[in-house]
């Protein structure tokens, strides 16, 4: 782990009392490698290490009885700071229904997340409604309908309409059926697909979501920054869902996405089953990223 590597450096250099700049540089090299191996974007790593360096040169480390542990704590604090410090709840609309839109790249886990969110909110006493706005992928609507059946949540699906119109219909149906939260599943799309990004923006404009959640795969590498930035600019999102955390990817993409978007990670998907879904805990991911 990174903390072991850092302890090892101090042990090896046998320092007592003040840390030398050389020791600090060696530690920072380890931090940089750990973050890059964890898939954190090179620019995010650079800025992060810069901030840690500044703090490492300061009083808190200079006066520390155990400087190694203090530096590890600084790294951890800085990570948690970016990831959102505490769990971040959903925002509710003052006037129901609350509309939640899901967006993201192909295969990131949106449709499954829609089912999971519906299940979670229902367990909290809400009356969710699912809306099937992926009109592209073969059997996408069927997939969402099956998930809706599984959690006993109604699904709005329409043929002969654009995705934007289905979304609007979904919100109307929520009012008609007195459902208090609408969860809109959308097609996976590339951030460089102009037509599809326009569609996403059009859906957002039409249904005015209180929450737009960017669904991101925890195993994403350096491309996370390109995607997160483009989706922020074209679609805008209020929060992030991180998926497939039950794998062993370190999850550094989450740090990159949180850093460049400034948006909090709200939920963690930790398995294929619909109950594998929980509020996101920044401190847990911080220790995972550090390995």
């Amino acid at each position: 782990t990174l903390s072991e590597r850092i302890e090892g450096i101090f042990g090896r250099l046998r320092s007592r009392g003040r840390l030398s700049e050389q020791q600090i540089d060696e530690v920072l090299r380890e931090v940089r490698l750990a973050l890059l191996e964890a898939d954190v974007h090179t620019d995010v790593v650079r800025a992060f290490v810069g901030r840690v360096r500044e703090r490492a040169m300061g009083e808190e480390v200079r006066k520390a009885l155990t400087p190694a542990q203090t530096i590890v704590k600084i790294v951890n604090d800085e990570l948690v700071e970016i990831l959102g410090r505490t769990t971040s709840p959903l925002t509710w609309s003052p006037k129901p229904p609350t509309v939640i839109m899901l967006a993201g790249l192909q295969g990131s886990g949106k449709t499954t997340a829609a089912g999971k969110l519906a299940r979670l909110l229902k367990s909290k006493g809400k009356r969710p409604l699912l809306v099937a706005c992926d009109l592209r992928r073969p059997a996408a609507v069927e997939q969402l309908k099956l998930l809706g059946d599984e959690v006993d949540v109604p699904v709005v699906a329409r043929t002969g309409m654009t995705a934007v119109d289905v979304a609007a219909t979904g919100v109307e149906e929520a009012r008609r059926l007195m459902r208090d939260v609408v969860i809109v599943d959308t097609a996976g799309r590339l951030h460089v697909d102009e037509a599809m990004m326009s569609e996403a923006a059009a859906i957002r404009d039409r249904i005015q979501p209180t929450e737009t959640l960017f669904v991101a795969d925890a195993m994403t590498g350096q491309d996370a920054v390109n995607v997160a930035t483009a989706f922020l600019e074209r679609v805008d999102y209020t929060g992030i869902i991180l998926t497939k955390l039950d794998g062993d990817a370190r999850g550094g993409a989450a740090l990159s996405i949180a850093q460049v978007s400034g948006r909090p990670v709200k939920f963690a998907s930790t398995g294929e089953r619909l109950d594998a879904f929980e509020p996101f805990h920044p401190d847990r991911l911080a220790s995972r990223i550090l390995g």
């Binding site: 090179t42 790249l105 192909q106 059997a139 996408a140 195993m219 491309d223 497939k244 794998g247």
Partner: protein, 271 residues
Amino acid sequence: LFKGTALTEQEWEELEEVLLRADVGVAATQRIVGAMRSRRDVADGMAALKDELVSALGHPDRSLKTKPGGTTVWLITGVNGVGKTTTIGKLAAQLRDEGRSVVLAAADTFRAAADQQLERWAELSGADIVKHAPGADPAAVVYDGVAAAKARARDVLIVDTAGRLQTKKNLMEELGKIRRILDRETGAPEEVLLVLDATTGQNGVAQARAFAEVAGITGIVLTKLDGTAKGGIVIAVQQELGIPVKLVGLGEGIGDLASFDPDGFVDDLLG
């Protein structure tokens, strides 16, 4: 970009950055740049890097194997959401265009509407499909797929499997079992392809290692290269595991599949 008889420290760092940004990874980047630095004659940094990357990808056989005079079997594996089912649709269409008959086995019996999704691809590509009820034993679908391919004298059987993270021991064992069934029924599959998403970071190497151990991977399909991700992890997969990229996915349409061209890939990677 980099001209002159020796590169500066800054220029070496810039080359490293290009590789790291492409998901080549820390270890492979250090190997590649290390190899370059040990050469005395690096005048043009980018040209030298291109040579290094193309040679790292090697010259393995990138063709898809078939069984002359019998049913060719291709097993498609990978983690969740990478593009296995879509790739199978594309392969089936390509085979049809080559005048070959295809059976698809819907051995993902777990995920909602997986069979319906593959069924749609069977329609679009003119392939037969063998599927069971949701929740059925995937092994049973595999047996039936083999039986159908033989009985109907189909040229190619392509087996779709459920996405599975390599950390799931029971799911990886299930995949091993599917491989062994095919070994017994038809002999070793002509191809066992691992589908890797180009956006995947360093975990891609762990995926390849685990799937190779359990199912014996003959080649990689690198999907979603129509995005901005470079897919640099395939370099480590080739160097560390000797597994070649055979195909690339370039979109969601039925024709969006191409054979892997190392030269073009490296050009795109270096931007």
